[in-house]
């Protein structure tokens, strides 16, 4: 039987064989099985329901050559980096940890380096954490990340630790036609509290394919900001898995405003009673950009609450895709879940495909969802014009107003600033 994925899988396997990062045996076995799992799923195609509107053929064609192209460490940082006061900064340039640009003397709960090195230093830890939440079969890109990741960061916050400083992970790509495969593993101890910011930017056409696995122990509290502002010709594929135990909570904001094609997927599991999640997403695209941002929230325990609010602003010929899925398991009685998606199309020629999904197996729940799509309100536009505000300024004001509800809760001004700049930079047809 001919496996259509086999050619790609074979090429990837050869590429992997030719590398010699000095990985310990167990990791090599683990990565080989990831490649075997890739052979099962292959690169996503538009025949798959979850990838119906996102065509990754050109991206798939860039693999594996862009994986092979080695990037020299480029210390010339012309990036649009975030400036966050008092943050613990971890900087990767072209996938390589840059100690000079990072905070000196990282605390011991943050380990950074090549995956192969960390696997040698902390085998038991990595065996426990790597792939615990992320399944290679969930997507071919996850399998690739598992097999090829060289950029790794592990954050293990001990119990009862409240971090005052945010942890800021900065990824910058400056080497053309290369790929970066970051793997981020996070564990918040019981009753711990932390803010983690991931910021992606690039100055060239490059691939970033990232997998983040976050475990929140009982009573822990995570604030997670993700800002993606990749180069107009870059590709960005990403998945975050967040697993919440009893009474744990996550407050997340996902902002996608870059890349030629970006696909971000957040997978939340409210696994313990009382766990809560608040996720906001903002998608901004103009030109011929394609942004696919989605999330799935699984309520697997009673008395869990989630609130998801995604908005997109599209201009010129941009394409947006939103998929919000709520799954309420039978044991998740007294679940409260709400999903809202609102889309603003600034000119004819843009397109949004939005699909809210509710799959409910418990009978004592409150679930609601809604999606609306529209253009700028003419009455509001005329009101601003009648006050002497010119049309471009008026449009910028209304666009900012549309996103403002999502941005008001962000505690880090730099993130808000970057989002506002991205909105002002949107160009109509």
């Amino acid at each position: 039987m001919n496996n259509p994925n086999q050619p790609a899988a074979d090429t990837l396997h050869n590429t992997w064989q030719n590398r010699n990062p000095g990985s310990p045996g167990w990791l090599q076995t683990f990565q080989k099985s990831a490649l075997a799992e890739f052979a099962q799923t292959g690169f996503p195609t538009t025949r798959m329901e979850d990838w119906k509107y996102t065509d990754v053929r050109k991206l798939a064609a860039a693999y594996p050559q862009w994986l092979i192209n080695q990037a020299a460490q480029n210390t010339d940082n012309t990036s649009n980096s975030l400036e966050i006061d008092q943050a613990i900064r971890v900087v990767f340039v072209n996938g390589i940890y840059n100690a000079e640009k990072s905070t000196q003397n990282l605390p011991e709960y943050i380990q950074v380096g090549k995956l192969s090195e960390l696997a040698t230093k902390y085998p038991e830890l990595l065996k426990k954490k790597l792939g615990k939440l992320a399944k290679n079969t969930d997507s071919g890109f996850i399998a690739i990340n598992t097999a090829f990741s060289e950029t790794a960061i592990i954050i293990l916050l001990p119990d009862n630790t409240e971090l005052q400083q945010p942890i800021h992970i900065e990824y910058f790509s400056s080497a053309e036609k290369t790929s970066v495969q970051p793997r981020v593993l996070v564990d918040l101890g019981t009753n711990s509290k932390a803010t983690i910011v991931e910021h992606f930017s690039s100055s060239v056409a490059a691939i970033t394919n990232t997998v983040t696995e976050i475990h929140c122990s009982a009573g822990s509290d995570l604030t997670y900001y993700r800002l993606q502002e990749e180069h107009i010709e870059a590709w960005h594929t990403a998945v975050q898995y967040i697993h919440l135990e009893r009474d744990a909570s996550v407050n997340a904001i996902i902002i996608d405003c870059g890349a030629l094609l970006a696909r971000n997927e957040m997978r939340l599991c409210l696994a313990g009673p009382g766990a809560t999640a608040d996720v906001k997403g903002l998608l901004l695209a103009d030109g011929s950009r394609h942004i696919d941002s989605r999330l799935s929230v699984e309520h697997a325990a009673r008395e869990t609450r989630s609130c998801e609010h995604y908005r997109s602003i599209l201009a010129d010929k941009a394409r947006g895709v939103f998929n919000g899925r709520i799954l309420v398991q039978q044991e998740a009685q007294k679940t409260v879940a709400q999903l809202t998606n609102r889309n603003l199309l600034l000119n004819p020629g843009t397109e949004i495909n939005t699909k809210p999904e509710l799959e409910i197996y418990a009978d004592d729940v409150k679930c609601a969802h809604g999606a609306t799509t529209g253009k700028l309100d003419e009455a509001s536009m005329f009101y601003l014009l009648s006050r002497g505000i010119d049309p471009v300024a008026a449009r910028n004001i209304l666009v900012a107003a549309f996103a403002s509800e999502l941005l008001t809760d962000i505690q880090i001004p730099a993130v808000v600033e970057h989002a506002q700049n991205a909105m002002r930079a949107l160009r109509l047809s």
Binding site: Y383, L384, S386, P391, A401, F402
Partner: protein, 251 residues
């Protein structure tokens, strides 16, 4: 002459509403336009402000010697034309103070002036807000967000006071107001009468004109001004209604 309207014809959705209107307003003058519902009062206001779906099928409007109809809505506003809306829209996410600052700076930019000083601006704006009985907190709230009808109208007059227009069109500013709100609004308007600023007050009822005395009153019926007079014309309308005047106009 501030504004000269000559044989104006306006259609909305292909329906003729204004059918040959003539009106001249000089500096410092207060003109009231009254008329039955459907006579075209709001259509006139919106057409002068430049609303896109109000089609000018013929006629001309000179404003400060310029061809108003060639100007875009924001250009008209920067040239000193102000419209107080009959139904002001709510714009959550845009604060009242932000909008006004953008408006003032837009005006200054067009005149080649530097942007307004923030401190001076806040002081000025707070003073005007207090005059209109608007709570200081409202400045940072979204434009008209959660406002009652009366509050929205007070916000319109407050904006007029801040923007200091040359020609203010007040479209049924008194509708929906109780007597106290009416007095506040009337006072706000009177404060801005400086002998140079002109007003076109569109109203259905005569009430407001007790407090804001007009120089001229015009009756608009069926898209045209059918009668003009001094302020006592308004009292006459109050007493006898529109029927007599309409009959005289048609007969």
């Amino acid at each position: 002459m501030i504004i000269e309207i000559n044989n104006l014809h306006v259609s909305v959705n292909k329906t003729k509403i204004i059918k040959g209107l003539n009106l001249n307003i000089g500096p410092g003058e207060v003109h009231a336009i009254m008329g039955p519902n459907g006579s075209g009062k709001s259509t006139l206001a919106q057409a002068l402000a430049g609303r896109q779906d109000h089609e000018i099928t013929s006629g001309s409007v000179q404003y400060l010697g310029q061809d108003l109809l060639q100007m875009k809505p924001d250009e008209r506003a920067r040239a000193g034309l102000f419209l107080s809306f009959q139904y002001p829209v709510e714009i959550p996410g845009v604060s009242n103070v932000y909008m006004l600052k953008a408006a003032l700076n837009g005006r200054r930019k067009a005149a080649g002036e530097p942007e307004i000083d923030s401190v001076e601006f806040m002081r000025f704006v707070r003073e005007k807000a207090a005059l209109m009985g608007l709570d200081q907190k409202f400045l940072s709230r979204g434009v008209n967000e959660g406002f009652s009808g009366g509050e929205k109208k007070r916000n319109e007059i407050f904006q007029m006071a801040v923007l200091e227009p040359r020609f203010a069109i007040l479209d049924e500013t008194d509708s929906g107001l109780d007597i106290d709100a009416l007095k506040v609004v009337a006072n706000g308007i009177n404060q801005e009468r400086d002998g140079n600023r002109s007003f076109l007050i569109i109203t259905h009822y005569q009430r407001l004109l007790d407090y804001v005395e007009p120089d001229y009153v015009h009756v608009l019926a069926n898209g045209q001004i059918v009668k003009s007079g001094a302020k006592d014309l308004a009292l006459e309308l109050e007493e006898h209604g529109y029927d007599d005047i309409l009959a005289a106009a048609n007969g």
